[in-house]
Symmetry: C2
Subunit: 144 residues, 2 copies
DNA sequence: CTCCGTGCAAACGATTTGCACTATG
DNA sequence: CATAGTGCAAATCGTTTGCACGGAG
């Protein structure tokens, strides 16, 4: 456990979020200005292999790192791309095929909800109030 | 609907699989040898926007394209990376939060099972028979 | 002294984009 | 002829790797 590795882990834990490698890099850089992004990636990989953190493959191009290694599901804001943990009792999710599905031997599953988080919803409501006079143009804004 | 677009769509539909852009490119190239990968990407994007095909964000680095645009779940072979449709009655999957989850407005979810497909399982069984004399070395082979 | 880990830059794989050209309406 | 779509190459983005150096045992 090197100094850099320690700081990277601390910052990830302190964030209490699911950070991307470069988000974490920006945070770590405030404490270790000479650290490189490669070191962040290398240590995240090492910490993942050691089971100390978890690498999450989720919506969006970048992978996210999670200091909570417990198996849980996630919810993803399609607007701001934040990712939160979901306290979902997996036993409640009935009907999941436990054995073979069309020849497959199941080893796990990944369940990810998407939606609009509270902050984005409030932001949207605020925006729509501010702009309700030119609502006619709204469709033009909705490009992309 | 240009000629290239037509062929791309035909090949995707004919494959009855979830192809990556470059897998599809290789297939299309047999019929249009001068087509470029960029054209394949551009047309896949256009077809996706038009709702004619679906772009699936799944395990693995590459996105996969699906001529079946219906909402359904998937199962992914962690060994050969094939992706199959899952006929899973979503109503049977009980306990999914329909309304608000910690402030979120849910718009959808993505459920992906992982496992070993039949072909890989048979391949594995065959391999383990062929190699059972040197099973002692098996752990050395299991490096990723 | 020996290594492992680092910083840097360059390589990489998947995807996107700028540009000049071409086919088609 | 106007313009949407193409092929090509270069750019981009996230991530990984080669290499020489540096610090801890």
């Amino acid at each position: 456990m090197t100094h850099q590795r320690e700081i990277i882990l601390q910052e990830l834990q302190a964030s209490r979020q699911h950070l991307t490698a470069d988000e974490l890099y920006e945070r770590v850089r405030k404490r270790l200005p000479r650290i490189s992004l490669a070191t962040v990636y290398r240590n995240l990989e090492i910490l993942t292999q050691a089971g100390i953190i978890a690498k999450r493959e989720v919506s969006g191009r970048q992978k996210r790192f999670d200091s909570d290694v417990s198996e849980h599901d996630h919810i993803f804001c399609i607007q701001c791309h934040r990712l939160d943990n979901l306290e979902l009792n997996r036993d409640e999710v009935g009907g999941l095929p436990a054995g073979l599905v069309e020849g497959y031997t199941i080893t796990g599953y990944r369940l990810e909800f998407s939606g609009i988080c509270r902050e984005c919803r409030l932001k949207n409501e605020k925006m729509s109030k501010e702009t309700e006079t030119w609502d006619a143009d709204a469709h033009a804004v909705r490009r992309h």
